[in-house]
Subunit: 748 residues, 2 copies
């Protein structure tokens, strides 16, 4: 029976591309028993093969988007919401002197509260703020419901309430689809929520971005070629054909325009062709042409059989023409609800007719704003709206339910090709849909592929880290060039090791901004269960490894022989291994921090400070046996301690190595200044007293003595290595938990 | 004769505040020979006294701004620009593989260049890009001239060209005011340029912000009370009465709304009541109501006798009603020039009539965009505009010059109270106006006052630095608690000093973001000669000192006695002094860096890396006499060297202080492990060999020996202190030069 939605899309503009002439077929996936009419599918497949030729590119013309979908909507969905009420407790502001008085919209609300200081649930320190106050309404498929109002009026809160992003219990009232209350799990399957920010990887192309979304969200049962076809259909639906091969871009890399970026964001969320689409200010930050094109795309999505609910600050005249229902909010209350065409009548009956030629919504919003500033507030308008609503309902009392039950409607919709993600034709099992589209290993592969692609497109990021390591390595190599075996040389070796091991950790901090940027994308993606958090953590670690190996090798090569470290090849290998372990634990540490700090400057400051304390407690500045007892715990927490001790053991553990020989014993001591001949005589007399024969070449201090002096006695070098690696794993695990806790998705 | 502009501002809304009922009088200053009618001035003064009572606040209502100014404009100014042409050389893009092809508006332009690869001035590596191509037009006082077009069409470039922000020689064509070419100096006096970004101090109130602008820009001859009056008049003119006592605010501090902030930015630039006002996208980032209110304010400014020239991306219907002349640009070429009312006629004659009810500018911009994407480009429209212009000029050939010469016009304007800044009634001497409004000392006072006010309002910034110093101080104090006089104790003292002296420098890095933020405001302010760069550098340094003294004292108190440092009170005083010197040189260093790095992350990374190298070369990790010759220069550059050596000298210079006594000589040596009795015997035999009596209590190593061992022999402690202080001054001087070089204000 599928595809029902073989929409005959016809272009209303001669110059539009031929892509819009083929039918927009929505792929129902392999689970769909029906087969498409071969001509249509053939056309589509041919088109997929053709795309490569056509990637010459400018921005989409407005008129390419002006395509009409004449197909009448046959499957009725009605999203109703009744008496939604939501309030939060906010700390009560104390009476402040003049210049601390804020000039925000809540001033009047504050005044109201002050007049009646202890409303239900209020205390002297908190007051209840009504974010939503008894909001009702409905939205139908094929239509766009727009929520309008000033900032702070409750637009986003209403969208959140409908999208089930407010924790149960906090929100009063009910939200139903075709008369049935929606379960959270069900809603996640049939809906999508588009956030206001475009969180996209800047170095992926539009097509790649959508393809990764398809791989994450479309069911594993769908073949790769069908996923590709879905992406191609979506690119056309979004009007992104000309930008398909362009990278998203960022400040440093030129990419697609702001409007195209917003459409890509929408595309990611509707990859599974949801029945309900929620959008929080999809047009914010766009110029009016781009904004219009975005809403035009939304209209097209609605007409493909979806309910679109969006908030919008102030629609332009053209955008207003695309909206089917409006809800005006003011301080959490409805001040108008109905179609745009009824606006003039409503306001003229209210006694404020909209002047000819004036933008209707601009006028309405200004009027509301003015009322908000007036002593009576918007109460009169709220009351007027209530009576208007009841009047309207008596005038045209259309039936709320259009017949089909939710199950029947969803089932019919699925057979028409909607809900590509995970849903099957059997509505009962659609509730049994797996939480994640892909198995664990597949997620790992796709995530790793994406990470590697990103790194490849931004080689400068790794380049900077490599440069930092090489520069520091070269400076250390030349400063500590061929250290000798003398008491001074020993001291310098200690300094070199302390500095070198800290460097590895500090270098890792440079990756912080990238991690932080990625975290937002991660939060967006896991919000709709694109993949398991664990796959992300593991793939993130695995992809980092080759780079870390390279950095460690570069640093080890630059310093080991130049400084004249001991142990030959096996010594070098261990040196390289411990470098690698430090880079690993350092990058794990920074990754973990990126999961908990809110922004990059704070993160960097914290990393630098903590690493400084790690160095202070590593055993270099003060030996373990001299650290006061109340601080010894920090010594064992110090990440730098373990690699520092490991390299010292690697250097000094050789018992045959002599570091102080014969009269060198007097170096660095008060007797260091006396003439050499005198030192020899002195040595002889010491020799006699001790009853041991000591000559000029007798070894006085071995490496083991040094280790003892430095208090490095508790761990073998291999144990140090193991502990360093274990720290790395520990921080990855902590990172996992930080992601679990950090990506909470609901208001309380 | 003044005040001519006694605008009878009447409110069209009953609820508006009484501020709009008094006359908006522009203060001509003491140099104006005319006196105001006493009743009006009395009203105004009374009003100034009254403002304090009325600071209750919400946002401005739209209708408060809708005030009519009925006064006809009597002094004609005409800004004409003819055949403005400006091109830059850009690197030619090489043919890149598929995914690197950008989808930007310049694709067609690129193609045109590829077709004709070697145009005049082009090479194989660069091509010439026309940013402005033969643009002509004019603007009159009392009117707003708006430049429209897509991003990249040359809007900002045209504004820059008119505002003389493009270096001479690069720009072809001419710009005249009343027929005379404007000299740069002259233009600076009579015009203002408002940038797109709001660079304001977040913690100052609107009134304070404008008052500081008045103090910087209005002439010294004007009394403080008159400056205050000018600010009050401006607050009303900008519709900011209700927000006057509100702070500007930032992410962390709630302040005025975006539209109000933009109006404050405009207010700062028009504090001297300029004749020409240039604005680069004054409405960008604002919602349409705020944008309308900003343009309404601009209209009011124009009607007070100024020429307003602004760029705007896409004006709403209501804003369009406020604009008097439009220039539409497309890729640097004029595609329409004329009044908004002629737009429909123009486009219908061009063959693309604007549909009924469609937003005219939206339609026009969409059409232009479509033409840009078409093969022929906008050539047809450019040609059509040319013929339309010549037709129009024959139809209504109004005289270009309205009689008054530039000198006469400016002179008349000044007597009407315009040009409060520095201009006098005598036009010849107006060119002799001093570059800066205030003398050096006055600038210092005002700048310092502002800095102190800012710091007071953000105590958390200093709090964080103090906390960092105290936490590190306490950790160091407890880790190195009461160090003993033994070889180990000496080693630990060295470590403590190295760590402590680095800490002072690292703590300074925390101030980087604040400095960077301030730099942008500095650049904005010095661009119009608000004050001398030198005053800023000196005031910046002076204001920082008390905080640095406090930090040094806190750190010195926390550590000196806890660690058990030597020297008693005089030792502590020197220790405190050298701490202060390090904080001084560290903050100077960071201040200097903030003048040269482009953004905060890079700055922080550089500071951390450089400080690490400073520490490496300070003499702690490797003694001066052991540093390879090719690196010794860096040792002397190391900021950390000098305070480190100073504290070591302060600690160890006391010749009576003994650090190694009797058998302690064997500590830290291979003989350290033998029993005490044996050590005593050994000491006796050494004593005999040397022919010196050495007992258990004989001092073996004094502090001087330690200094010798550590290679600290070249500078006395007072010299170290002096050099540290000198570094601080050097970096302040470098900071001054970085500001000189960094605040270039013109395109090349």
């Amino acid at each position: 029976m599928s595809p029902i939605v073989a929409q005959n899309v016809s272009s209303n503009n001669d110059s539009s591309t031929p892509y819009f002439q083929h039918s927009l077929e929505l792929i129902a996936g392999e689970f769909s028993t029906a087969t498409a009419p071969s001509s249509t599918l053939g056309q589509l497949l041919q088109h997929v093969g053709d795309t490569r030729k056509e990637a010459t590119g400018d921005q989409t013309s407005v008129h390419e988007l002006l395509v009409d979908i004449s197909e009448p909507r046959p499957i009725p969905f009605v999203l109703s919401f009744n008496n939604l009420t939501y309030s939060v407790k906010v700390p009560r502001k104390m009476a402040l002197p003049g210049f601390f008085r804020w000039s925000d919209g809540s001033a009047a609300a504050d005044a109201a509260v002050v007049g009646n200081p202890l409303a239900a649930g209020d205390s002297y320190f908190t007051r209840t703020k009504m974010l939503l106050n008894d909001i009702s309404g409905e939205a139908q498929d094929g239509e766009i419901l727009a929520v309008l109002g000033a900032s702070g009026s409750g637009k986003s809160t209403l969208i959140d309430a409908l999208a089930n992003r407010i924790a149960k219990g906090s929100l009063k009232g009910n939200v139903t689809l075709n008369g049935e209350t929606l379960k959270s799990r069900m809603l996640k399957v049939i809906s999508a929520y588009v956030m206001q920010d475009d969180l996209l990887f800047p170095m992926l192309t539009v097509e790649e971005t959508l393809m990764f979304a398809a791989e994450f969200r479309l069911p594993r049962t769908l073949s790769k070629s069908k996923k590709k076809m879905r992406v191609q259909v979506l690119i056309d639906q979004l009007g992104l054909r000309n930008a398909a091969k362009t990278i998203i871009g960022d400040e440093g890399h030129r990419g697609v325009s702001g409007g195209e970026r917003r459409r890509v964001s929408i595309g990611i969320d509707i990859i599974h062709d949801p029945i309900i689409l929620f959008l929080d200010e999809p047009t914010s930050g766009l110029d009016s042409t781009s904004a219009f094109m975005v809403v035009k795309v939304l209209q097209r999505i609605a007409q493909s059989g979806s309910i679109v609910v969006m908030s919008i600050h102030q629609p332009s005249y053209r955008i207003l023409g695309l909206l089917d229902r409006l809800i005006f909010l003011s301080r959490g209350q409805t001040v108008y609800s109905g179609s745009p065409t009824n606006l003039p009548l409503y306001f003229s009956e209210f006694g404020h007719p909209i002047p000819e030629n004036e933008n209707k919504t601009e006028f309405a919003l200004d009027l509301i704003r003015e009322l908000e500033g007036s002593p009576g507030g918007t109460k009169s308008l709220v009351e007027f709206n209530k009576s208007w609503q009841s009047m309207k309902h008596t005038r045209d009392s259309e039936p709320d339910q259009l017949g089909l039950s939710l199950k029947e409607a969803i089932s019919a919709s699925i057979s028409r090709g909607k809900l590509v993600s995970g849903a099957t034709n059997d509505i009962n099992s659609s509730l049994m849909v797996p939480t994640f589209a892909n198995p664990f290993w597949k997620e790992m592969v796709v995530l790793s592929k994406r990470s590697i692609l990103n790194s490849k497109r931004m080689p400068e990021l790794f380049g900077i880290r490599l440069a930092a390591v090489l520069v520091t390595g070269s400076i250390l190599a030349t400063v500590f060039w061929q250290l000798d075996n003398s008491p001074k040389g020993v001291q310098e070796r200690l300094g070199f090791f302390a500095f070198a091991m800290s460097t590895t950790y500090y270098t890792c901090a440079d990756a912080l901004p990238v991690f932080l940027q990625e975290r937002y994308i991660f939060m967006r993606e896991t919000a709709y269960n694109a993949y398991r958090r664990l796959s992300y953590v593991i793939s993130n670690a695995l992809v980092a490894l080759p780079g870390l190996i390279f950095l460690s090798f570069a640093f080890a090569m630059a310093t080991f022989w130049a400084v004249g470290l001991d142990g030959g090849l096996s010594g070098f290998l261990f040196y390289f291994l411990i470098m690698f372990a430090s880079f690993w634990s350092g990058s794990s540490f920074v990754t973990f921090l990126s999961g908990v700090v809110p922004h990059v400057m704070l993160g960097y400051t914290i990393v630098v400070a903590i690493l400084a304390y790690f160095l202070l407690f590593s055993g270099f500045f003060i030996n373990r046996d001299r650290i006061p007892g109340y601080w010894i715990w920090f010594h064992y927490l110090s990440l730098v301690k373990y690699p520092y001790e490991a390299v010292l053991r690697n250097e000094f553990e050789n018992p045959s190595k002599c570091l102080v020989r014969g009269i060198q014993i007097f170096d660095n001591s008060p007797l260091g200044e006396i003439p050499s001949a005198m030192k020899v005589r002195l040595l002889q007399s010491v020799s006699k007293s001790l009853g041991v024969r000591i000559t000029r070449s007798t070894c006085m201090t071995t490496g083991l003595d040094i280790l003892k002096q430095e208090g490095i006695t508790d761990l073998s070098k291999w144990n140090c290595l193991l502990i360093t690696v274990a720290w790395g794993f520990l921080f990855r695990i902590l990172f996992y938990f930080s992601l679990l806790l950090g990506s909470k998705n609901k208001r309380s």
